[in-house]
Symmetry: none
Subunit: 426 residues, 2 copies
């Protein structure tokens, strides 16, 4: 079963609204084991809408058409679908009553303009969920295909998709397979490096997919997704007979991948670097404080975004000015873009804020070089009662990217220290 999504609205093409509806529908279709190969945005123009919908019908079994069901003159989805079905629009009296009641219950009077929302193509049926004045429509086309028309208002659309349309699609498909994904989040290797590291494994998957598809225990595929300063994501997707079989495949593949990727993996699905850090610190009963120069508040900002951070995060000093590095952190006079300065800052903030571990960043975010060191030179350090570790990075990109990469690099250094060093425990 192959389902296509068409989003209607000139405001989408103009970028005034980002089309998050199609993305959400795509997720729901995948989770229901339904294929979706195309998603198209088209403006409020009858001719182009008709062409796009007809093309979609020609290459897909079903089309979900989202938007253009409002009461104004540019809402023409109903007319275009009736045209494609080769039928007339007819006023649905029950729908008129329903819309009138909605207005009455809000203490308002229905405007005659809203009557257009009660026009339904002959032969179409109405989706039972209807949170707003726009009715969802199930429109059969040519015997074996179907267009679902849903409003563009996200919560109205979602209620109709989850309430009626997904089950209607699954019933039509006669299939029972489910598709599930899991994402391993990594930091520390380039996309191409990761691809090489996993080349044999991916080849093996291709072979076993051919087998397993036969015995229905579930196929698995891998995809990489570069997410900038959030690292590289490795997504495992499986198609299996049911939920339990899918989870079993994901568990196996995750274990196999972790055996290859080792410490590169810092989290799963929504677990970002700062969530990983906060839970590692909590697990070990350790607290942290941070001295930030080049990252200027970004590390504190990210760590504090995690609910429960207050248990493990003491606070920080943004030592943007060199005098502040000296007065608040006890760093000695001298060059500040050095590993020595980073270590001194890390110890300084650890002591003055009374934390178990101190972190520090110092470097050159640009636009100009500093102390003869080029833009992108960044020194980071982690210090505890067991000693300190520091490293120098040479980062690409503009000011913002240098600060962001410094932030995640320092958090990752802390993660490595926490994972590898039981000596750091209290």
């Amino acid at each position: 079963m192959n389902v296509e999504v068409v989003a209607i609205g000139s405001e989408l093409l103009l970028g005034q609204i980002v089309d998050t509806n199609s993305s959400w529908i795509g997720q729901e279709l995948a989770a229901a084991g339904l294929d979706s190969y195309h998603q198209t945005k088209v403006g409020d123009n009858a001719g182009r809408m008709k062409s796009v919908l007809e093309l979609a019908l020609s290459r897909s079994d079903a089309v979900i058409c989202c938007g253009g069901l409002g009461p104004t003159h540019d809402d023409i989805t109903r007319e275009v679908i009736a045209d494609i079905m080769g039928v007339e629009l007819k006023l649905d009296k029950q729908l008129v009553t329903k819309i009138e009641e909605m207005f009455t219950s809000r203490g308002r009077v229905m405007s005659p303009t809203n009557l257009s929302q009660a026009m339904v193509p002959v032969g179409a049926s109405i989706v039972s969920e209807q949170p707003g004045t726009a009715a969802g429509l199930i429109c059969p086309v040519g015997g074996d295909k179907v267009i679902y028309a849903v409003p563009g208002v996200p919560y109205e659309m979602k209620e109709m998709i989850t309430g009626t349309i997904l089950s209607d699609l699954i019933a039509r498909s006669g299939e029972s397979a489910v598709i599930r994904s899991r994402t391993l989040r990594t930091w520390g290797m380039s996309e191409s490096g990761l691809a090489e590291l996993l080349a044999d494994y991916i080849e093996g998957l291709d072979v076993s997919n051919a087998d397993e598809a036969a015995n229905k225990t579930g196929t698995a595929t891998l995809a990489f997704n570069a997410s900038g300063v959030e690292g590289l994501k490795v997504r495992i997707t499986t198609k299996a007979a049911d939920e339990a079989a899918a989870i079993a495949v994901l568990d196996t593949k995750e274990a196999e991948l972790r055996a290859i990727l080792g410490d590169l993996v810092f989290g799963v699905d929504g677990e970002n670097m700062e969530v990983a850090i906060v839970s590692l610190l909590a697990e070990k009963g350790l607290t942290v404080a941070v001295a930030e120069s080049v990252t200027g508040g970004y590390i504190a900002g990210r760590v504090c975004a995690v609910p429960g951070a207050s248990e493990v995060f003491r606070g920080g000093v943004v030592a943007y000015n060199n005098q502040v590095k000296q007065s608040l952190l006890g760093v000695e006079d001298g060059p500040v873009v050095t590993e020595e300065a980073a270590v001194a800052m890390a110890y300084g903030v650890r002591d003055s804020l009374g934390a178990d571990i101190g972190l520090a960043s110092t470097g050159v975010a640009g636009p100009e070089e500093m102390e003869g060191r080029p833009v992108g030179t960044v020194c980071i350090a982690v210090a505890s009662s067991d000693g300190a570790i520091a490293t120098t990075l040479q980062l690409p990109g503009d000011r913002e990217r240098i600060r962001q990469f410094s932030t995640i690099s320092l958090l990752n250094l802390l993660r490595q220290v926490l994972r590898q060093a039981p000596v750091l425990e209290n």
Copy 2:
């Protein structure tokens, strides 16, 4: 000139990433006066990519194809475009050198996998901007059409579109009218409030557009764009005979709007709140330091993002833990979510970091209430040698939105103090 956008990537169809690239490109095309009638998402499948691109070429003058230029096996945009052009892919030696240098400058060695990124369809040219290892390609098809291939990584894509592709498109279009926009950025009023405030003005524009279109001095339209914690943007767009005429219209309309909106306007175009703050401080020769509890590094993080911030920003203390508020900022024992505590923090950080002005935030970001005050209660303060001003906010939303709204609210309070109070000057 009709330009179509095709976004490549199965992760887009599966909704794992929302396709914001197409929306951004749509905005840029509209601002450049180029039409865009279709935007399509398609997965990493050669056959379907080819069909979608061929269809796009058949109905549009130019196609911007976004994504699939990485080094891995599922990055097949180069192959598909070569197929459509009816040519071979050829290794571009200059590109190999360029990519190798990128790796070397980061202290890494290029993997052989990355060689695929140096493969270019014969007859295609390379976009001069190339912030990453993926090169942008300009691929002529059949004499009068063109496909632009750009990476899916947003900042790489944006650099190529604004640097090369928009001008290339405008040159191809042969149009002479120019479309220019200017955005006034506001903080402090709701979208409906702003719409009411400007209702008469917008009506007046409609009338004068009808006139001026006739005498070609340039038309002007307004659009509102709610940007969450970045405030509300009022975008003026004009279509005029040439650059000078367009700028003249924008200047006039900006002056008229500022007369109505007054102090609500904090910046123009890319000038966000922190840029406005840094330039106001620099103008007055004042320095600032910040004590952050509920905002936990966000204020420092935003201010430090501005090049030149080091001239006016001394640094900050992230006093997440109450003991830190006392030891580093000299706040007395007692409740911390109060205006008194915010003022004490602001004075504390001002004194200990030696700044002219101290800022402070303290509040309840959740998930739980604190000191009997509900989630969303935030106290902010600005202190100087002339005294202090503090206020209590009751903010909606989740932890992240509360922290973000606190951040911009405090920056805006500082802006108001700086604009209204010459007494604060040195």
